[in-house]
Symmetry: C2
Subunit: 378 residues, 2 copies
Amino acid sequence: MIEKVLMGIATAGIKPSGKPDLLVVYFEKPVTVSAVYTKNHFKAAPVIYSKGLTEKKQTFRAFVVNSGNANCGTGERGLRDAKAMAQRVAENLGISPDDVLVFSTGIIGVPLPMDKVLKGIDEACKNLEPLNLKAAADAISTTDRFPKYSMAETAFGFGKGAGMIHPNMATMLAYVFTPAKLDYETLRKIHLEINEKTFNSITVDGCTSTNDSFLLISLGEEELPIQKVERDIFTVAEDIAKQIVADGEGATKIGVVEVINAESKEKARAIAERIATSLLVKTMLFGCDPNWGRILAAAGSAFEYPIDTQKVKIYIGDYLLFENGHPTGIDLKPVELFMRRNKEIPIKVDLSEGKHSWRYYTSDLTYDYVKLNAEYTT
Amino acid sequence: MIEKVLMGIATAGIKPSGKPDLLVVYFEKPVTVSAVYTKNHFKAAPVIYSKGLTEKKQTFRAFVVNSGNANCGTGERGLRDAKAMAQRVAENLGISPDDVLVFSTGIIGVPLPMDKVLKGIDEACKNLEPLNLKAAADAISTTDRFPKYSMAETAFGFGKGAGMIHPNMATMLAYVFTPAKLDYETLRKIHLEINEKTFNSITVDGCTSTNDSFLLISLGEEELPIQKVERDIFTVAEDIAKQIVADGEGATKIGVVEVINAESKEKARAIAERIATSLLVKTMLFGCDPNWGRILAAAGSAFEYPIDTQKVKIYIGDYLLFENGHPTGIDLKPVELFMRRNKEIPIKVDLSEGKHSWRYYTSDLTYDYVKLNAEYTT
């Protein structure tokens, strides 16, 4: 299925590292695209440009991504540059500019070096080959420590992101494809739901970048059972999302925060988010400290959602640490060892009041996080 | 005015350090009390106990604070212990138990050592003397690096807090007094408004503790001009709040985040809060990096409040870094030096759309923050 997607990669010299930094993805026939973008009010120029297009139409023929420069905080000129990128891709491929989406990631506040970008587009379009997930992920990476991609039976995808980091490598990008023939409404519904459960349920630093974009693309090749397709898209999206958390700045652990038996999904999610974004929980993961008090205080701070503290149970791994309003008093030494020995640390809060649940992935807060984010001087 | 308030201090042995850990404050005649407590759903026993009282009545004769143990996550027993503390104070002073409020701060999940606490109350009540702000602040301190108190012409107060830290020293406490004769409604109105602008506009780690309490107490001694009194109460509350930020775990800088010319107070506040709690802004303060992109991205992430990015101006100190949708391009070296040389760093975001503003104080995120919060093992 993957060979139905073509790609071209170039080393345009936008990244100082001299690694590939330009990717063109091309579809021989129109594909159906559902896109979600950052909610940040400061949107980068390519986000404003592509959002304008995906709000008007649903089928496209190509997209282009440059890494090394986010084309953000670049005013009117940024918008002209984004448009020029689409036009150049369209000229090279003999398609309409309106069929091309544009994405950028990298440093912000600096205009794109357009001569390099345009030459890179020409080069990438001349060398089209079947999509290689790893190579595509590498071409869009910035400070990522490893390329992020995933594959299931009826879906595949690639992405990038490791937090909004040094020096403002501002973006989470993800592109997931399915060969399934899906109409736009179905695709959109699946996309929005899966987006909430995956890319919108991870946190590294609690920050929302100016360039975040996640595309779900139906290639329209095959009739496939919808449940299966949905499951596979979820698997691929969740896998990429988890890779982003694992690559979180300075991260050594992945906290898997699960709130179960809540009276509503919204409540489960709000409480999971409070725990996942708590600095005290994140430093506790780094320190391998089974500190139920921090989990409890974070769970109680989703103010709009009252909790019956007598009914709450708190687990780390399978260890029950708190119930009936006070600590269980179990020996914490084995819990600490469990935390030291595992990279993924499950934190479970059972509200014992309903049947809804939500899962959130978080990275730990480490010395290296501070180092990465404090040591840069403009 | 301060001699109208009596206090007794004891070293009850609740704190392992062997420093004073019990404070009784006594008023010879009833005083009018307005109290606000943590919004966390996990409230410590003394908060549940005192909140029950201040919701029923408005005049009191005494309060007791122990440090070293927060009496939180201690179930039914915790509530009985809080009540027993009030009763012991009442017996000693010959007043009604309902006239005594109770506060605790320190480690959570461990029952109070009641024999020590009760003996400490006896001792404190036997040695009443005029209020000494520094001594009172010391007696309620836990991991604070310095005592926090402040005085103006018609108001004075003391407090404690440095974040919710190692090992769960869970509390911000503040007590502000005025000799002014104020009815409860006036006192309450002033209290709620000042609370929002001071203790509810500071952040160290974004966490809400289980024990936070802030009391405003009218001694009813003098007729004083209300505007003057209000200003002085604000000055004292803001000063104590700022001391808490300055004592934030591992903090080396105070970020003074100001959002000005917003179309509403709520909008100014929401955006100021996003900036003040952004980990990227907090690490940038530590790194002395004039990184306007992080301020911009944080300002844009108060999703419910759209921003016209073309109109936004961003300043650090008096340096204008961003306007008209792109960086001003000024030399950043002097800005970095300014940040290195000052402990207080003003960050100003001008929305150029209205006339409302809000100020938020934040600490920087440092290696020592991670160290303090990660190295503890239960």
